[in-house]
Amino acid sequence: MTENEIIEKLKGLKAVEPQAQWKNWLKSQILASFKAEKAEFQREKPKAKVASQPLVLGFSFYRYRWVAASLILVLSLTATGVLAQKATPYSFLYPVKKATQALILKLTPDERRPALQLAFTEDKINALNHLSGEAKIKLQAEIKNDLKETYQQITKIDKPSRLLAISQELDEKTKKIEEKAQNHPEIESSISQTRTEILTLIENTQKLSTNCPNYLNNILEQLKNNPLLEKLTPSQIAEISRLMGDAQTALMANVCVDALYDLEAINRIAPQLGINLTGQNSTSSAPAVSSQTPSSSLNNENLIDKIESTTTAPSGATSAESTDSFSTSTLSQ
Protein backbone atom coordinates (compact mmCIF):
# COMPACT_ATOMS: atom_id res chain seq x y z
CA MET A 1 0.00 0.00 0.00
CA THR A 2 1.45 3.38 -0.99
CA GLU A 3 1.42 6.39 1.30
CA ASN A 4 -1.28 8.04 -0.79
CA GLU A 5 -3.45 4.94 -0.54
CA ILE A 6 -2.94 4.88 3.22
CA ILE A 7 -4.02 8.49 3.43
CA GLU A 8 -7.13 7.76 1.37
CA LYS A 9 -7.99 4.83 3.64
CA LEU A 10 -7.40 6.98 6.68
CA LYS A 11 -9.90 9.49 5.38
CA GLY A 12 -12.40 6.65 5.16
CA LEU A 13 -12.43 6.62 8.96
CA LYS A 14 -14.34 9.89 8.84
CA ALA A 15 -17.38 7.66 8.77
CA VAL A 16 -16.96 7.20 12.49
CA GLU A 17 -19.35 9.53 14.25
CA PRO A 18 -21.77 9.38 17.16
CA GLN A 19 -25.44 8.75 16.59
CA ALA A 20 -27.78 11.67 16.07
CA GLN A 21 -30.05 10.59 18.95
CA TRP A 22 -27.13 10.61 21.37
CA LYS A 23 -25.91 13.99 20.12
CA ASN A 24 -29.31 15.55 20.76
CA TRP A 25 -29.60 13.88 24.13
CA LEU A 26 -26.16 15.11 25.22
CA LYS A 27 -26.85 18.67 24.15
CA SER A 28 -30.14 18.81 26.01
CA GLN A 29 -28.50 17.41 29.17
CA ILE A 30 -25.66 19.91 29.09
CA LEU A 31 -27.95 22.86 28.47
CA ALA A 32 -30.27 21.68 31.24
CA SER A 33 -27.38 21.87 33.69
CA PHE A 34 -26.97 25.57 32.92
CA LYS A 35 -28.96 27.12 35.78
CA ALA A 36 -27.33 25.14 38.57
CA GLU A 37 -23.84 25.76 37.24
CA LYS A 38 -24.43 29.48 36.71
CA ALA A 39 -25.65 29.94 40.28
CA GLU A 40 -22.61 28.10 41.59
CA PHE A 41 -20.17 30.34 39.69
CA GLN A 42 -21.92 33.51 40.76
CA ARG A 43 -21.40 32.47 44.35
CA GLU A 44 -17.73 31.78 43.72
CA LYS A 45 -16.92 35.06 41.97
CA PRO A 46 -16.98 37.47 44.96
CA LYS A 47 -14.63 35.15 46.88
CA ALA A 48 -11.99 35.46 44.20
CA LYS A 49 -12.31 39.24 44.16
CA VAL A 50 -11.96 39.68 47.92
CA ALA A 51 -8.98 37.35 48.01
CA SER A 52 -7.05 39.36 45.46
CA GLN A 53 -7.60 42.82 46.96
CA PRO A 54 -5.50 42.64 50.15
CA LEU A 55 -2.44 42.00 48.03
CA VAL A 56 -2.42 45.57 46.80
CA LEU A 57 -4.39 47.61 49.31
CA GLY A 58 -3.25 48.73 52.74
CA PHE A 59 -0.04 46.73 52.63
CA SER A 60 3.12 48.15 54.10
CA PHE A 61 5.51 46.86 51.47
CA TYR A 62 8.67 48.20 52.98
CA ARG A 63 8.01 46.70 56.37
CA TYR A 64 6.86 43.38 54.99
CA ARG A 65 9.04 43.23 51.87
CA TRP A 66 10.34 39.76 52.70
CA VAL A 67 6.84 38.50 53.29
CA ALA A 68 5.88 40.07 50.00
CA ALA A 69 8.87 38.49 48.29
CA SER A 70 7.83 35.09 49.61
CA LEU A 71 4.33 35.74 48.38
CA ILE A 72 5.61 36.52 44.93
CA LEU A 73 7.60 33.32 44.97
CA VAL A 74 4.53 31.33 45.97
CA LEU A 75 2.43 33.09 43.36
CA SER A 76 5.06 32.40 40.74
CA LEU A 77 5.21 28.75 41.64
CA THR A 78 1.50 28.08 41.76
CA ALA A 79 -0.43 27.26 38.66
CA THR A 80 -2.64 30.29 39.19
CA GLY A 81 0.34 32.62 39.39
CA VAL A 82 1.86 31.20 36.25
CA LEU A 83 -1.40 31.31 34.36
CA ALA A 84 -2.09 34.80 35.66
CA GLN A 85 1.05 36.15 34.00
CA LYS A 86 -0.52 35.29 30.66
CA ALA A 87 -3.89 36.75 31.61
CA THR A 88 -5.26 39.43 29.34
CA PRO A 89 -6.62 42.66 30.87
CA TYR A 90 -10.00 42.27 32.56
CA SER A 91 -9.98 38.53 32.17
CA PHE A 92 -10.54 36.11 35.04
CA LEU A 93 -6.93 36.06 36.33
CA TYR A 94 -6.10 39.69 35.56
CA PRO A 95 -6.47 40.88 39.20
CA VAL A 96 -3.86 38.29 40.23
CA LYS A 97 -1.52 39.48 37.49
CA LYS A 98 -1.96 43.12 38.56
CA ALA A 99 -1.33 42.31 42.21
CA THR A 100 1.83 40.39 41.33
CA GLN A 101 3.10 43.24 39.16
CA ALA A 102 2.40 45.77 41.93
CA LEU A 103 4.42 43.69 44.38
CA ILE A 104 7.29 43.21 41.96
CA LEU A 105 7.40 46.97 41.35
CA LYS A 106 7.48 47.70 45.07
CA LEU A 107 10.40 45.33 45.57
CA THR A 108 12.39 46.58 42.61
CA PRO A 109 15.21 49.09 43.28
CA ASP A 110 14.21 52.69 42.56
CA GLU A 111 16.37 53.07 39.48
CA ARG A 112 15.01 49.85 37.88
CA ARG A 113 11.37 50.57 38.64
CA PRO A 114 10.53 53.03 35.81
CA ALA A 115 11.84 50.70 33.09
CA LEU A 116 9.89 47.79 34.55
CA GLN A 117 6.75 49.88 34.80
CA LEU A 118 7.21 50.89 31.16
CA ALA A 119 7.51 47.21 30.19
CA PHE A 120 4.19 46.50 31.94
CA THR A 121 2.67 49.50 30.18
CA GLU A 122 3.88 48.22 26.82
CA ASP A 123 2.12 44.91 27.50
CA LYS A 124 -1.08 46.77 28.21
CA ILE A 125 -0.80 48.76 24.98
CA ASN A 126 -0.40 45.48 23.09
CA ALA A 127 -3.50 44.16 24.83
CA LEU A 128 -5.52 47.19 23.68
CA ASN A 129 -5.59 45.68 20.19
CA HIS A 130 -7.67 42.79 21.48
CA LEU A 131 -10.13 44.77 23.59
CA SER A 132 -13.21 46.81 22.87
CA GLY A 133 -15.90 48.76 24.70
CA GLU A 134 -15.69 49.40 28.41
CA ALA A 135 -12.71 47.12 28.99
CA LYS A 136 -10.70 49.10 26.44
CA ILE A 137 -11.62 52.44 28.02
CA LYS A 138 -10.65 51.13 31.46
CA LEU A 139 -7.30 49.90 30.20
CA GLN A 140 -6.60 53.23 28.48
CA ALA A 141 -7.19 55.01 31.81
CA GLU A 142 -4.90 52.48 33.48
CA ILE A 143 -2.16 53.18 30.93
CA LYS A 144 -2.40 56.94 31.45
CA ASN A 145 -2.16 56.41 35.20
CA ASP A 146 0.86 54.12 34.73
CA LEU A 147 2.63 56.84 32.77
CA LYS A 148 2.07 59.40 35.51
CA GLU A 149 3.41 56.92 38.04
CA THR A 150 6.46 56.23 35.88
CA TYR A 151 7.30 59.92 35.78
CA GLN A 152 6.91 60.14 39.55
CA GLN A 153 9.17 57.12 39.98
CA ILE A 154 11.84 58.78 37.86
CA THR A 155 11.76 61.95 39.94
CA LYS A 156 12.23 59.81 43.05
CA ILE A 157 15.56 58.34 41.90
CA ASP A 158 17.84 59.61 44.65
CA LYS A 159 21.01 60.28 42.63
CA PRO A 160 21.13 61.89 39.20
CA SER A 161 23.94 59.60 38.13
CA ARG A 162 21.55 56.68 38.59
CA LEU A 163 19.01 58.39 36.40
CA LEU A 164 21.63 59.00 33.74
CA ALA A 165 22.65 55.35 33.90
CA ILE A 166 19.16 54.34 32.80
CA SER A 167 18.47 57.32 30.54
CA GLN A 168 19.16 55.44 27.32
CA GLU A 169 16.88 52.59 28.35
CA LEU A 170 14.11 55.03 29.28
CA ASP A 171 14.54 56.83 25.97
CA GLU A 172 14.28 53.58 24.00
CA LYS A 173 11.35 52.20 25.96
CA THR A 174 9.30 55.39 25.80
CA LYS A 175 10.05 55.67 22.08
CA LYS A 176 8.81 52.12 21.51
CA ILE A 177 5.67 52.79 23.51
CA GLU A 178 5.07 56.02 21.62
CA GLU A 179 5.30 54.16 18.30
CA LYS A 180 2.88 51.48 19.45
CA ALA A 181 0.45 54.11 20.71
CA GLN A 182 0.14 55.57 17.20
CA ASN A 183 -2.67 53.09 16.59
CA HIS A 184 -4.52 54.36 19.65
CA PRO A 185 -5.28 58.09 19.33
CA GLU A 186 -7.00 58.09 22.75
CA ILE A 187 -3.69 57.64 24.59
CA GLU A 188 -1.23 58.89 22.00
CA SER A 189 -1.03 62.45 23.30
CA SER A 190 -0.63 61.36 26.94
CA ILE A 191 2.24 59.07 26.01
CA SER A 192 3.88 61.71 23.89
CA GLN A 193 3.60 64.24 26.71
CA THR A 194 5.06 61.84 29.28
CA ARG A 195 7.94 61.01 26.96
CA THR A 196 8.68 64.71 26.52
CA GLU A 197 8.63 65.24 30.29
CA ILE A 198 10.94 62.30 30.89
CA LEU A 199 13.38 63.41 28.21
CA THR A 200 13.38 66.96 29.58
CA LEU A 201 14.18 65.62 33.02
CA ILE A 202 17.04 63.55 31.62
CA GLU A 203 18.34 66.51 29.62
CA ASN A 204 18.33 68.77 32.67
CA THR A 205 20.13 66.14 34.69
CA GLN A 206 22.72 65.74 31.96
CA LYS A 207 23.36 69.49 32.02
CA LEU A 208 23.87 69.28 35.76
CA SER A 209 26.08 66.27 35.58
CA THR A 210 28.74 67.26 33.11
CA ASN A 211 31.69 69.53 33.47
CA CYS A 212 31.77 70.03 37.23
CA PRO A 213 32.51 73.65 38.03
CA ASN A 214 35.69 74.39 39.93
CA TYR A 215 33.82 75.99 42.79
CA LEU A 216 32.66 72.56 43.95
CA ASN A 217 36.29 71.45 44.26
CA ASN A 218 37.06 74.65 46.14
CA ILE A 219 34.16 74.06 48.55
CA LEU A 220 35.42 70.58 49.23
CA GLU A 221 39.02 71.73 49.77
CA GLN A 222 37.96 74.48 52.14
CA LEU A 223 35.68 72.10 53.98
CA LYS A 224 38.56 69.73 54.66
CA ASN A 225 40.46 72.56 56.36
CA ASN A 226 37.49 74.00 58.20
CA PRO A 227 38.40 74.29 61.96
CA LEU A 228 34.71 74.07 62.86
CA LEU A 229 34.81 70.39 61.94
CA GLU A 230 36.63 69.68 65.22
CA LYS A 231 33.70 71.03 67.21
CA LEU A 232 31.25 68.48 65.78
CA THR A 233 30.24 65.29 67.54
CA PRO A 234 32.15 62.10 66.63
CA SER A 235 29.12 60.66 64.82
CA GLN A 236 28.71 63.88 62.80
CA ILE A 237 32.39 63.82 61.88
CA ALA A 238 32.19 60.20 60.81
CA GLU A 239 29.17 60.83 58.59
CA ILE A 240 30.63 64.00 57.11
CA SER A 241 33.93 62.26 56.38
CA ARG A 242 32.06 59.57 54.50
CA LEU A 243 30.08 62.15 52.50
CA MET A 244 33.22 64.12 51.72
CA GLY A 245 34.82 60.95 50.40
CA ASP A 246 31.78 60.31 48.23
CA ALA A 247 31.80 63.90 46.97
CA GLN A 248 35.50 63.62 46.13
CA THR A 249 34.88 60.42 44.19
CA ALA A 250 31.94 61.99 42.34
CA LEU A 251 34.00 65.03 41.37
CA MET A 252 36.83 62.85 40.11
CA ALA A 253 34.32 60.94 38.02
CA ASN A 254 32.91 64.25 36.76
CA VAL A 255 29.49 63.43 38.21
CA CYS A 256 29.11 66.81 39.79
CA VAL A 257 25.45 66.51 40.68
CA ASP A 258 26.16 63.60 42.98
CA ALA A 259 28.89 65.71 44.58
CA LEU A 260 26.35 68.50 45.01
CA TYR A 261 23.99 66.19 46.84
CA ASP A 262 26.74 64.92 49.10
CA LEU A 263 27.62 68.51 49.97
CA GLU A 264 23.95 69.26 50.55
CA ALA A 265 23.79 66.33 52.92
CA ILE A 266 26.78 67.72 54.83
CA ASN A 267 25.00 71.04 55.05
CA ARG A 268 21.95 69.37 56.53
CA ILE A 269 24.05 67.53 59.14
CA ALA A 270 26.10 70.57 60.13
CA PRO A 271 24.56 73.85 58.95
CA GLN A 272 27.02 75.74 61.14
CA LEU A 273 29.72 74.96 58.56
CA GLY A 274 27.90 77.47 56.37
CA ILE A 275 28.23 75.75 53.02
CA ASN A 276 26.53 77.85 50.37
CA LEU A 277 25.93 75.80 47.30
CA THR A 278 23.76 78.36 45.54
CA GLY A 279 26.80 80.37 44.53
CA GLN A 280 25.01 83.40 45.93
CA ASN A 281 26.41 85.84 48.44
CA SER A 282 25.52 84.74 51.97
CA THR A 283 23.27 87.77 52.33
CA SER A 284 21.27 86.77 49.30
CA SER A 285 17.65 85.88 49.76
CA ALA A 286 17.96 82.99 47.33
CA PRO A 287 16.79 79.76 48.93
CA ALA A 288 19.52 77.40 50.00
CA VAL A 289 19.85 74.21 47.98
CA SER A 290 20.04 72.31 51.22
CA SER A 291 16.38 73.00 51.86
CA GLN A 292 15.38 71.19 48.70
CA THR A 293 14.67 67.57 48.16
CA PRO A 294 16.82 65.74 45.62
CA SER A 295 13.99 65.44 43.17
CA SER A 296 13.17 69.15 43.29
CA SER A 297 16.84 69.91 42.82
CA LEU A 298 16.71 67.98 39.57
CA ASN A 299 14.24 70.51 38.30
CA ASN A 300 16.14 73.54 39.57
CA GLU A 301 16.56 75.57 36.40
CA ASN A 302 18.37 78.29 38.39
CA LEU A 303 21.07 75.88 39.45
CA ILE A 304 21.36 74.48 35.92
CA ASP A 305 21.80 77.99 34.53
CA LYS A 306 24.50 78.81 37.07
CA ILE A 307 26.46 75.67 36.35
CA GLU A 308 26.09 76.20 32.63
CA SER A 309 27.27 79.80 32.89
CA THR A 310 30.30 78.59 34.82
CA THR A 311 31.24 75.83 32.46
CA THR A 312 30.62 77.92 29.37
CA ALA A 313 32.58 80.97 30.56
CA PRO A 314 34.12 83.19 27.81
CA SER A 315 37.42 81.81 26.59
CA GLY A 316 39.25 84.86 27.91
CA ALA A 317 38.14 84.22 31.48
CA THR A 318 40.24 82.02 33.67
CA SER A 319 38.74 79.19 35.58
CA ALA A 320 39.39 81.16 38.75
CA GLU A 321 37.34 84.08 37.42
CA SER A 322 34.43 81.91 36.50
CA THR A 323 34.59 80.20 39.86
CA ASP A 324 34.72 83.42 41.82
CA SER A 325 31.13 84.36 41.14
CA PHE A 326 30.07 81.15 42.90
CA SER A 327 32.68 80.88 45.60
CA THR A 328 31.71 84.01 47.45
CA SER A 329 31.25 82.99 51.01
CA THR A 330 31.41 79.32 50.21
CA LEU A 331 32.52 78.77 53.72
CA SER A 332 31.78 81.48 56.20
CA GLN A 333 33.84 80.83 59.24
Binding site: M1, L13, A15, Q19, L26
Partner: protein
Protein backbone atom coordinates in the same frame (compact mmCIF):
# COMPACT_ATOMS: atom_id res chain seq x y z
CA UNK B 1 -25.38 36.10 20.06
CA UNK B 2 -26.20 34.76 23.53
CA UNK B 3 -24.30 32.01 25.31
CA UNK B 4 -26.78 29.30 24.35
CA UNK B 5 -26.57 30.16 20.65
CA UNK B 6 -22.80 30.29 20.91
CA UNK B 7 -22.72 26.88 22.55
CA UNK B 8 -25.13 25.38 19.99
CA UNK B 9 -22.98 26.63 17.15
CA UNK B 10 -19.75 25.24 18.58
CA UNK B 11 -21.39 21.99 19.65
CA UNK B 12 -22.77 21.33 16.17
CA UNK B 13 -19.48 22.21 14.51
CA UNK B 14 -17.15 20.18 16.73
CA UNK B 15 -19.01 17.34 18.43
CA UNK B 16 -18.35 14.74 15.72
CA UNK B 17 -14.70 15.70 15.44
CA UNK B 18 -14.04 15.58 19.17
CA UNK B 19 -15.89 12.29 19.48
CA UNK B 20 -13.86 10.79 16.62
CA UNK B 21 -10.61 12.06 18.07
CA UNK B 22 -11.41 10.47 21.44
CA UNK B 23 -12.85 7.28 20.01
CA UNK B 24 -9.64 6.38 18.16
CA UNK B 25 -7.70 6.84 21.37
CA UNK B 26 -9.88 4.80 23.73
CA UNK B 27 -11.35 2.25 21.30
CA UNK B 28 -14.60 2.19 23.21
CA UNK B 29 -17.78 3.90 22.09
CA UNK B 30 -19.08 4.14 25.62
CA UNK B 31 -15.94 5.79 26.99
CA UNK B 32 -15.70 8.03 23.94
CA UNK B 33 -19.26 9.21 24.53
CA UNK B 34 -18.61 9.94 28.21
CA UNK B 35 -15.35 11.80 27.57
CA UNK B 36 -16.89 13.78 24.71
CA UNK B 37 -19.75 14.69 27.02
CA UNK B 38 -17.27 15.93 29.60
CA UNK B 39 -15.40 18.06 27.07
CA UNK B 40 -18.57 19.90 26.09
CA UNK B 41 -19.91 20.07 29.62
CA UNK B 42 -16.66 21.76 30.75
CA UNK B 43 -16.83 24.08 27.77
CA UNK B 44 -20.39 25.09 28.68
CA UNK B 45 -19.29 25.67 32.28
CA UNK B 46 -16.44 27.93 31.11
CA UNK B 47 -18.78 29.95 28.94
CA UNK B 48 -21.16 30.53 31.83
CA UNK B 49 -18.40 31.33 34.30
CA UNK B 50 -17.18 34.19 32.13
CA UNK B 51 -13.72 32.68 31.98
CA UNK B 52 -11.08 34.37 29.81
CA UNK B 53 -12.36 34.80 26.31
CA UNK B 54 -11.73 31.67 24.25
CA UNK B 55 -10.01 32.84 21.11
CA UNK B 56 -9.67 29.53 19.33
CA UNK B 57 -12.51 27.11 20.03
CA UNK B 58 -10.95 24.30 18.06
CA UNK B 59 -7.66 24.42 19.97
CA UNK B 60 -9.51 24.82 23.27
CA UNK B 61 -11.72 21.77 22.72
CA UNK B 62 -8.94 19.52 21.46
CA UNK B 63 -6.70 20.50 24.35
CA UNK B 64 -9.52 19.79 26.76
CA UNK B 65 -10.04 16.38 25.13
CA UNK B 66 -6.33 15.57 25.31
CA UNK B 67 -6.23 16.51 29.01
CA UNK B 68 -9.21 14.29 29.76
CA UNK B 69 -7.58 11.44 27.84
CA UNK B 70 -4.41 11.83 29.89
CA UNK B 71 -6.49 11.72 33.08
CA UNK B 72 -8.37 8.71 31.80
CA UNK B 73 -5.21 6.76 30.98
CA UNK B 74 -3.69 7.68 34.30
CA UNK B 75 -6.61 6.46 36.38
CA UNK B 76 -8.27 4.09 33.92
CA UNK B 77 -11.62 5.14 35.26
CA UNK B 78 -14.01 7.90 34.47
CA UNK B 79 -15.56 10.44 36.74
CA UNK B 80 -19.34 10.13 36.55
CA UNK B 81 -20.83 12.67 34.17
CA UNK B 82 -22.07 15.72 36.04
CA UNK B 83 -25.51 15.25 34.56
CA UNK B 84 -25.79 11.51 35.22
CA UNK B 85 -28.60 12.23 37.66
CA UNK B 86 -30.71 13.06 34.65
CA UNK B 87 -32.38 10.41 32.61
CA UNK B 88 -29.80 8.00 31.19
CA UNK B 89 -29.96 7.27 27.50
CA UNK B 90 -30.62 3.66 26.63
CA UNK B 91 -28.71 1.60 24.08
CA UNK B 92 -31.74 1.63 21.84
CA UNK B 93 -31.82 5.40 21.92
CA UNK B 94 -28.13 5.61 21.05
CA UNK B 95 -28.90 3.74 17.86
CA UNK B 96 -26.77 1.53 15.68
CA UNK B 97 -23.17 2.52 15.60
CA UNK B 98 -21.23 3.82 12.63
CA UNK B 99 -18.26 2.01 14.18
CA UNK B 100 -20.02 -1.30 13.62
CA UNK B 101 -20.39 -0.39 9.96
CA UNK B 102 -16.71 0.55 9.79
CA UNK B 103 -15.65 -2.74 11.31
CA UNK B 104 -17.39 -4.55 8.49
CA UNK B 105 -14.92 -3.03 6.01
CA UNK B 106 -11.66 -5.04 6.14
CA UNK B 107 -9.44 -2.17 4.97
CA UNK B 108 -10.84 0.32 7.42
CA UNK B 109 -10.57 -2.19 10.23
CA UNK B 110 -6.92 -2.74 9.36
CA UNK B 111 -6.16 0.99 9.39
CA UNK B 112 -8.03 1.30 12.65
CA UNK B 113 -6.01 -1.49 14.27
CA UNK B 114 -2.73 -0.09 12.98
CA UNK B 115 -3.55 3.33 14.41
CA UNK B 116 -3.70 1.72 17.84
CA UNK B 117 -0.21 0.27 17.37
CA UNK B 118 1.74 3.40 16.47
CA UNK B 119 2.87 6.09 18.93
CA UNK B 120 -0.11 7.82 20.54
CA UNK B 121 1.10 11.21 19.41
CA UNK B 122 1.42 9.99 15.81
CA UNK B 123 -2.08 8.50 15.90
CA UNK B 124 -3.47 11.76 17.26
CA UNK B 125 -1.82 13.86 14.64
CA UNK B 126 -3.04 11.62 11.80
CA UNK B 127 -6.61 11.67 13.10
CA UNK B 128 -6.58 15.43 13.51
CA UNK B 129 -4.93 16.16 10.16
CA UNK B 130 -6.55 13.64 7.83
CA UNK B 131 -9.86 12.90 9.54
CA UNK B 132 -10.73 16.13 11.25
CA UNK B 133 -9.09 18.38 8.62
CA UNK B 134 -7.18 20.58 11.04
CA UNK B 135 -4.56 22.87 9.55
CA UNK B 136 -0.85 22.71 10.36
CA UNK B 137 -1.24 25.99 12.23
CA UNK B 138 -4.05 24.58 14.39
CA UNK B 139 -2.02 21.46 15.14
CA UNK B 140 0.88 23.68 16.11
CA UNK B 141 -1.33 25.38 18.71
CA UNK B 142 -2.73 22.14 20.08
CA UNK B 143 0.59 20.31 20.35
CA UNK B 144 2.59 23.41 21.32
CA UNK B 145 5.10 22.65 18.59
CA UNK B 146 6.44 24.61 15.64
CA UNK B 147 4.72 24.19 12.30
CA UNK B 148 7.86 22.66 10.80
CA UNK B 149 7.95 20.08 13.59
CA UNK B 150 4.29 19.24 12.96
CA UNK B 151 5.01 18.59 9.26
CA UNK B 152 7.85 16.26 10.20
CA UNK B 153 5.60 14.49 12.72
CA UNK B 154 2.91 13.89 10.07
CA UNK B 155 5.50 12.48 7.69
CA UNK B 156 6.88 10.15 10.37
CA UNK B 157 3.39 9.12 11.48
CA UNK B 158 2.49 8.02 7.93
CA UNK B 159 5.74 6.06 7.72
CA UNK B 160 4.99 4.39 11.05
CA UNK B 161 1.48 3.50 9.96
CA UNK B 162 2.76 2.11 6.67
CA UNK B 163 5.23 -0.06 8.55
CA UNK B 164 2.40 -1.67 10.51
CA UNK B 165 0.25 -2.15 7.44
CA UNK B 166 2.85 -3.99 5.39
Amino acid sequence: MDLKDQFNQIYDAYLDKIYRFIYFRVSSEEIARDLTGLVFFNFWKSLNAGRPEIKNYSAYLYRSARNLLVDYYRRKQLEPLPFSAFKEITDEEVGSSSVEKMEKSADLALIYESLAKIKKEYAEILILYYLNDLSIQELSQIFHKREGTIRVMIHRAIKALKKHLT
